[in-house]
């Protein structure tokens, strides 16, 4: 277990009477895609938010590369190499797609506190940003205002930003949401290769994608992890079928 990059142990979070996370234990190992599935309202996004530091957990620990990161704020955790994408795209709408990626690139490559040189003239930065746009197939839309991008393009842009952060872990919150079948397929292929760069904690509803991609799957129901295992183990688990998959596969 010590080989895991990200270790979540006994994590609990309560909203009033609701246990959003109920002693959640989960880890992410190098080179794997660990899918987190569960019905709506199971607390998947809440879990992601606690891992990245947007929400503070009530109890439990989160370790990254063996070091506790519970007390760090979200910015520090991002700087250490936790990159997330959002369930609903969270971009700066009034600037171009390129500028959104530049924002990430400049944050990784040194300081944002430079006041004189125009970003767009910084060839190294722009080249790095364009590379990442190209990887998600958005290079032709680089100069388009983000608000004018289509829904699918915005999801691609989210991914380009996450790539630009050169993270040690990807936390992807429903990256397939709202993508057409073609888009989903492309993204599935893309993620399959991405795991070699950094392991992925993947929250996803698209079961085809999950079964195609995941090395391990954890099932979250009412804030509790009811099972963790390989694709086959999860598929064949009675507990999972009755609690969750039953309705999906029926």
């Amino acid at each position: 277990m010590s080989s895991a990059i990200l270790e979540v142990e006994d994590l609990s979070k309560r909203f009033g009477a609701l246990m959003a996370s109920d002693h959640v234990t989960l880890d992410l190992r190098p080179g794997e895609i660990h899918a987190l599935i569960g019905p709506n309202g199971a607390g998947k996004s809440t879990l992601i938010k606690q891992i990245v530091g947007e929400l503070h957990h009530d109890a439990g620990t989160i370790r990254f590369n063996g070091r506790r990161i519970d007390d760090l704020d979200a910015e520090a955790r991002a700087k250490m190499g936790l990159a997330r994408t959002f369930q609903v795209s969270s971009l700066a709408p009034e600037i171009s797609a390129l500028h959104n990626v530049l924002l990430a690139v400049q944050a990784v490559e040194g300081s944002v506190f430079r006041f004189f040189k125009p970003v767009i003239r910084d060839k190294k930065l722009v080249a790095a940003a364009m590379d990442n746009l190209m990887r998600v197939g958005l290079q032709d839309r680089a100069m388009v205002r983000t608000a004018d991008l289509s829904h699918g393009e915005r999801r691609q842009l989210e991914m380009a930003i996450a790539l630009a952060l050169k993270p040690k872990v990807f936390l992807l919150d429903e990256p397939m949401a709202g993508m057409g079948p073609d888009g989903s397929q492309q993204l599935t292929k893309f993620l399959a290769r991405l795991r070699d760069e950094a392991p992925i904690l993947l929250v996803e509803h698209d079961m085809d994608a999950v079964f195609a991609l995941a090395d391990r799957i954890s099932v979250l129901v009412y804030g509790q992890i009811i099972a963790t295992g390989s694709v086959d183990e999860i598929r064949n688990s009675k507990k999972v079928r009755s609690a969750y998959l039953g309705e999906e596969l029926a």
């Binding site: 947007e54 700087k79 971009l91 944050a107 944002v112 430079r114």
Partner: protein, 326 residues
């Protein structure tokens, strides 16, 4: 060249041409008015960095305008009275050199903006508006009740401060100084908004969560912008003190904060030359409407209402179209 650039250049030329024409026609009053436009525009350029680019609705920029003014006023009056400013732990003399007064004003306003900004940015939205207003008001009441520098009556500066090699008492020369500074802060503003920092600031306004998730604290970016913004507005205050050769607590009043905000809005929020267009329009209105009735602010209020309700985008938006805030 975009249409907005053309409009901007035309505005700059107009601001330069009017006082030069007035110099030949011997209308010193018009030169003074133009100087006032340039100074107010500098104050607006400062506020625009926080308000337009950073989305920080500061209703307390009078604090910096006033502090800049008092820095200039106090330094000059101590020097003219041959009294040292501080005698302990070492002696500091006052000065009438603009080249010393300006950096002092910038430092004082920067420090004040750091404190006020750090407090106010702990909150957001409507709290931010009220808290910046309240801090400015605090300094206003302090200026009124602190008797050392004139209290409620304000402080006169008998001679305008000096600039090496220039006769600052000559209206057109003083205008030239203010105009040059305006162009300098506008230039700085262009660089800033296109820089790495400008990109981060713009993101902090549009979506702070995005900034957080790439590992940058919006607080630090916004606080830095607030400090820069306060310093530039403070510089305008120092110039305004020299223009009038007088400073008073009115510089700190919330009407001043409101007016600086009006310059920015009238011209167009987040537009580079917005503050200049707005300040020029404001001074023009003051004199046109002031000629109609002594209650010209009634008409100004009505006009402002109409603009807010129906004509968003300000003067630059009207002339150049398109979007601000890029």
């Amino acid at each position: 060249m975009t249409r907005e650039t053309t409009v901007n250049i035309a505005l700059a030329i107009a601001l330069l041409a009017v006082p030069i024409g007035a110099q030949f026609a011997d209308h010193p009053f018009i030169i003074t008015l133009s100087t006032k436009v340039a100074i107010f525009a500098i104050a607006g350029v400062g506020l625009n960095i926080a308000l337009g680019y950073g989305g920080l609705i500061s209703f307390g920029h009078a604090a910096f305008f006033g502090l800049g003014g008092y820095a200039a006023g106090i330094l000059a009056s101590q020097a003219l009275n041959y009294e040292p400013l501080v005698t302990w732990p070492f002696e500091i003399q006052g000065t009438t050199q603009m080249l010393i007064i300006w950096p002092v004003a910038l430092c004082i306003c920067g420090a004040a903006a750091l404190v006020i900004g750090a407090m106010s940015l702990r909150t957001g939205g409507v709290y931010f508006i009220m808290i910046t207003l309240a801090f400015a008001q605090m300094i206003y009441y302090f200026a009124i009740s602190w008797p050392a520098y004139g209290g409620e009556d304000g402080l006169s500066i008998y001679v305008r401060s000096k600039f090496p090699g220039l006769n600052t008492l000559d209206p057109i020369t003083f205008f030239a100084i203010c105009f040059a500074l305006l162009i300098a802060v506008l230039g700085f503003s262009v660089l800033l908004t296109h820089s790495r920092f400008g990109l981060a600031l713009s993101a902090a306004r549009q979506n702070p969560q995005r900034l957080t998730s790439v590992g940058v604290r919006p607080f630090q970016v916004q606080l830095t912008a607030f400090v820069i913004s306060g310093m530039i507005t403070g510089l305008a205050g120092a110039l305004y003190a020299d223009l009038n050769r007088f400073v008073s607590p009115a510089m700190f009043s919330w009407h001043t904060s409101g007016e600086i905000m009006i310059f920015v809005i009238l011209g167009g929020v987040g537009r580079l030359f917005g503050p200049l267009a707005g300040a020029a329009l404001f001074i023009l209105l003051e004199h046109l409407l002031g000629g109609i009735t002594e209650f010209w602010q009634f008409l100004l209020g009505m006009l402002l209402l109409l603009i807010v309700l129906f004509a968003r985008g300000g003067l630059i938006g009207l002339l150049a179209g398109g979007r601000g805030n890029v």
